[in-house]
Symmetry: none
Subunit: 194 residues, 4 copies
Amino acid sequence: MGEKSVQKKQFIVEQARQVFVEKGFKNVTMKDIVDACGISRGGLYLYFDSTAALFREVLETEMTETYDPLPDGFPDHAGAADMLLFFLREQKREILRRKNCLAVATYEYFFEAKLPKRENPMCTRFTETVDMLTGLLAAGVESGEFYCPDPEGAARNMAYVLEGLRVSAQTMGLSESMVDREFMYILQGLVYEE
Amino acid sequence: MGEKSVQKKQFIVEQARQVFVEKGFKNVTMKDIVDACGISRGGLYLYFDSTAALFREVLETEMTETYDPLPDGFPDHAGAADMLLFFLREQKREILRRKNCLAVATYEYFFEAKLPKRENPMCTRFTETVDMLTGLLAAGVESGEFYCPDPEGAARNMAYVLEGLRVSAQTMGLSESMVDREFMYILQGLVYEE
Amino acid sequence: MGEKSVQKKQFIVEQARQVFVEKGFKNVTMKDIVDACGISRGGLYLYFDSTAALFREVLETEMTETYDPLPDGFPDHAGAADMLLFFLREQKREILRRKNCLAVATYEYFFEAKLPKRENPMCTRFTETVDMLTGLLAAGVESGEFYCPDPEGAARNMAYVLEGLRVSAQTMGLSESMVDREFMYILQGLVYEE
Amino acid sequence: MGEKSVQKKQFIVEQARQVFVEKGFKNVTMKDIVDACGISRGGLYLYFDSTAALFREVLETEMTETYDPLPDGFPDHAGAADMLLFFLREQKREILRRKNCLAVATYEYFFEAKLPKRENPMCTRFTETVDMLTGLLAAGVESGEFYCPDPEGAARNMAYVLEGLRVSAQTMGLSESMVDREFMYILQGLVYEE
DNA sequence: TATGAATGAGTCTTCATTCAT
DNA sequence: AATGAATGAAGACTCATTCAT
């Protein structure tokens, strides 16, 4: 596949992403993609066999490109509390945004594609989040910012809460204040000496 | 609709439930139902206009029939801790069972059907769970079984964790020990004097 | 068929008439009739095999009941001109009324049911109209009210014009003034000595 | 749509025309068209969404291709009477032909599709006919061929008679002599000094 | 590489008609 | 006489996929 083709493939993935954002996974047809890309049906099949293959590619791009718990510009000397707050703020944005959001498509896709954990991006992301949070909490305990007898347990708890919020936002609709309240509860557990 | 047809409607709902369990919501066609019931296409339409209408009925039946946080036979004099344990055991069963489980169908349905909160069973169930847990925790604090400065916050936290576990079980696959570990973490937060 | 059944049959025909008025002929289903009558499907079939059979009955009733070029109360001593004016006024009402009008249903039915002329109500009505008008014109010539060298030809001409107006009203939509203008043209041909 | 598909579209329109001729409008299904064309269901939908869309195309083609009150080859020096006779002869052919005739389909279509007059081909055709006849009669009066104090009125009268004949031919069945007789009546009105 | 016409299987939906009660 | 549940055929429409160019 030449360089040109690589570009075209990327182009298709970008357009497809938008379609998945708008329609979820199961509602998307090859025609939707074709229309969004302005290419021919046959042309699309040269690159992707199915919407599932396309979605996998979209997800992969997503992961490599955008998954970055703490962005480059973040001050290295920032305290654990600052970093946690930053992380939660990002998560809130992610959870609440209706536009530009692959959550529904992702759920719909992974309800079907039962993958071995190694290859399952949902698992990967979960694990990474837990690891990152564990590190953060441990550092915070170290620095005296947090009280937390079981950093890994707390990290896992947070990760499930985030998952719960994420899916609830799509099924029940969540307001910003509901997310805030939940995050406040978590933070209080870390600072209060209980 | 005569008495006989009421029975038939129930029969259809039962068969349909099985189909939704097996295939989720979006994969189910009217033909799937027809085949599962052994009736004619036209016959099904006498009772239900769409798979969505059918699913709503399935859910309703589910709610009235089976949703019962604490069953009748539960000892009245049981302590709050006992009741919480019982509740979590039930939830674990619910979260882990692969068979007989409407979770995927429910998520798929409610990703599409964005309902006002009043009419959204997901909201209702969430609220009911939170209320019940709040009561339980408050009672436990009263009786000295639990340490919990903010019962409502803790209840809400648990509810989100449960939601997170429920959806994770469908997307990532969860082992019993993973659920147990999570529940243990929650329980420790209630008993440890932290 | 007992007396009661006769009444029921009449009732069905009346309700069906309304349905045909509203939906034409080809759009009407047995269910439409059943719903309009508030009876059972099986019940309807006891009386009529098809919408066509029903429509025939509706038409027959229509003919016997309402087709009456000059109504009873019309003064016997009325002049031919008066009678012609009266007839045209009735025709205008018939042509223009949107409600209560079987025209579309009738056309749709007779486009399909190519009947021998003897049994074709369209033919019958046409012939009766021509005969009546011929008589009227002849009488008018006799009494000096009309100038008309060929009453039968003129009557036939009028009958086709009426048919043309009737169908045009349904396909193109006609205003009252368009009908009036046409009728004026016809009348002037009878009174002007040309 | 490439050049080839334009040809195919034309082919479909031609086949469809035949189907409409045979079955009218409301009896025609997409399957009828598909069968007549020997193409696939999906293939037809590439070109037309519905039988209505197809019929509109058929009509349009009909209008542009065949509607030509006086054909090119007609002698320029022909008198008004000659031209009128020619026109009526054409109309008679049109009215009487059972084969190759879109009359029923056209009526059925326009009974449903109540269009604003500007866009209604029935209106357009009517108006064009009236205008043409008005011109013809006026010219005939000028040249002394016709006696006709109100050419526009007479033209309109003729147009309605033609409409009446056209629809009667489909509902009652008309013989050639019946049409001839009617045309004779009209012509006599123009030549007799009455 | 790329096009887009073409296919045909599959789903939804409606309707006339039957039949046990 | 009357009911209304049930059937299955038929029509509308869509979609993944192929293939000649």
